[in-house]
Symmetry: C2
Subunit: 425 residues, 2 copies
């Protein structure tokens, strides 16, 4: 058993004492703000709410959210519906979520030709090319291997692209940064399968191909495949969702989204990159000098304040908790600082433990709002020492409008009415 | 970045080398068993599967599992449908799941009068009784408090009750042990709210009441409420599911399920237990001497092998991974041992990290099946030193058929055909 009051003790370091005293013992205004909305005590039967007066709904085989939460969904947009039906993306509504796990139904989507409806008994994974012995796996064979489960984010290289527009878009945190989601993934370490196939001398890259109509394909350095890559079979406890690659996907923790090839059907060991359409026609970073950086695999250190953010409104003055998520392709988040004065000064947020490698980390900082204007920013640091860049620093080397691998500091302005907007600083 | 081959290195301690050599370099029989089902390489376009030939399905606002997974659902049974509609339970199908997080749609249910359909704007939580100042909270007020997110299991006190029958029931691991599930919960530490209300001298218990038609109510010692209790508002990132208490539930990590009162509407501080119908007419443990133990709050150390288990069939000889989940109300799981010979000898399984307190811990042990009969058992130990008891030890003090708080060692027999059955040992 943990010591008594462990939760309260854990919170204490993040609440400075003067604020905490007011918060707990309560001036009239704090009490009115935070909790007491009425002192009429609805404890007699006459005042029981409607739903206590009749039996509720029956049990169900597979549950769904409350109908009152119908607005919490993935906004989505298609790119070129007539050229490539099913291409586009949908985004995790971070402004409505909490914690670190993304519900599987709200994990972001990025498809290039729709979601294939794969029969798991028919699907096969081929390992071939520069191997001693080509291997062909059915799902039931793969499922018998020793498995690992790990909590990791996946982030599309196009995430936060809306913030590359000339003017800051007035859209939610999810609509900007929602091409990133975190799940507990369970699968087979890829290194086991490659060792079983036998890696031939000269093999240094792997072509990974999906079984969708776009044959989405990426070239992966062999070193990453032998490091922490897995063939993911389960997401948050159950078989992968169709939009996440059912029945199997490549998982390359910390690397840009489309290298985590969904509906994985083929891994071919090669001597060099294959230069597929999906790594030449897009997902490259055009620089000011006209050259494009290719194979920007590892994702940068990043954070976003999810509350308060665009679409929220602070209805009254008083205590709020500023909170958000931070992540990095390099490993663990070690620090998140928050500024409420447009970067003039910074204060450390509490990192909600445990902090997993290459996973969303929830940060929190209690804050008193006194009805004045502010600009809120969060700045993350990771265990490689990397610090989230400002907009100016991030955009400096790139051509105007370059909208991949954007990890610059997000700023939200609060006006005197408590309304939030997206601002560039 | 972790060292290269970190996943493989992590696996090595769990694989003894002779087995690993056979596994990796492959005798013909192992190869045939594990991976190679065909050497015809389907890499030319003619052999592309059907789903690569037409665009896939469009994106969606809220995703659902593949239709091929329709059988993975919660089995449920009602108790007294005419007396109390909506009473009964549904169970997490552990035999089909992996990792540690339970998908919210498959979290077990136990209702006493159905699932209320609560309007979150109307719902109120009252804190009253022996307090300096009664408090009444709407959801939006509670949501502004500093929050914490933690991964915890909830287990019904009636879980594993089917194994109290005179003969071992031939049903799945989920049908026996599925009244236990794990989620990432986010909510307000209850201690914060109690300190704000002001605890009057003499208060030592709390009555917690739900807003369902059964007014499900339990008495809770104040010490637990001041320890790690929270008012949970989010489950796996999104607002609680209706079956889990939307819009708020009491969460008492490690304590029997029905003390985690769903649809929480009232906390009354009292001098003594209230002795509600839900803690007197049931959820007590009848002993052989005719006396019933009451208030068995903390759940015992427990584990269950989920693969292989009843309903699975080992189709051929070769390498399998024995895996399952372990948990304890006392804190962390420190050890899980596996016996394949009906308890004659035991071998340590690998605990898949990170190991959270009061949460499912996934354990794994690679194992070669040679087509002979076995009895598989798992035995968990926790950081309080408690060891999961045998059936004989567990049942000794109780009246025949006592079916609460059952945590004895589950045994699965494998016959020479690879079929699994539930056995008492």
């Amino acid at each position: 058993m943990p010591p008594k009051n462990s939760l309260v003790k854990n919170l204490l370091p993040s609440l400075d004492m003067p604020k905490r005293r007011r918060f707990l013992t309560g001036s009239a205004s704090v009490a009115a703000t935070l909790s007491v909305t009425s002192l009429t005590l609805p404890v007699n039967a006459e005042e029981n709410p409607l739903w206590m007066k009749t039996p509720g709904k029956p049990m169900s085989g597979y549950g769904t959210p409350s109908t009152f939460e119908a607005s919490v969904k993935r906004p989505f947009a298609s790119g070129y519906p007539t050229v490539s039906p099913g291409t586009g993306s949908s985004r995790t509504p971070h402004q409505a979520l909490e914690g670190t796990i993304t519900p599987s139904g709200l994990h972001f989507e990025r498809h290039h030709n729709g979601v294939p409806d794969i029969d798991p008994l028919q699907h096969e994974l081929l390992i071939h090319g520069l191997v001693e012995r080509p291997l062909l796996f059915k799902l039931d064979a793969l499922s018998r291997y020793p498995l690992v489960n790990r909590v990791h984010f996946i982030e599309c290289s196009g995430n936060s692209g809306p913030n590359s527009a000339p003017e800051p878009p007035q859209i939610t945190a999810g609509a900007i940064h929602g091409l990133a989601s975190t799940s507990e993934w369970t699968g087979v370490p890829l290194a086991l399968l490659l060792h079983e196939a036998g890696i031939k001398p000269g093999a240094t890259w792997i072509l990974a191909e999906g079984a969708d109509a776009a044959s989405m394909s990426r070239s992966i350095p062999l070193n990453k495949a032998l490091d922490d890559a897995m063939i993911a079979l389960y997401q948050n406890g159950e078989r992968l969702r169709p939009e996440q690659g059912y029945p199997m996907r490549l998982l390359l923790p910390g690397w840009e989204g489309n290298t985590n090839v969904k509906w994985l059907r083929r891994l071919k060991l090669t001597q060099a990159p294959t230069f597929t359409k999906d790594e030449t026609s897009k997902y490259t970073d055009l620089q000011k000098d006209g050259l494009a950086r290719q194979f920007t695999f590892g994702l940068g250190v990043k954070s976003v304040i999810t509350f308060p953010s665009y679409g929220h409104k602070l209805e009254r003055q008083g205590l709020y908790e500023i909170t958000g998520i931070a992540w990095t392709g390099a490993g663990r988040i070690t620090r998140v600082e928050i500024s409420t004065n447009n970067g003039l000064s910074w204060k450390d947020a509490t990192l909600q433990g445990p902090v997993h490698s290459k996973s969303f980390t929830r940060f929190r900082l209690p804050w008193h709002w006194h009805g004045t204007t502010h600009v809120l920013q969060s700045r993350a640091t990771d265990d490689s020492g990397a610090v989230q860049p400002t907009r100016t620093v991030f955009t400096a080397p790139y051509a105007k409008g370059m909208n991949f691998h954007n990890n610059y500091i997000q700023a939200w302005a609060i006006d005197a009415n408590g309304s939030l907007s997206n601002v560039y600083t």
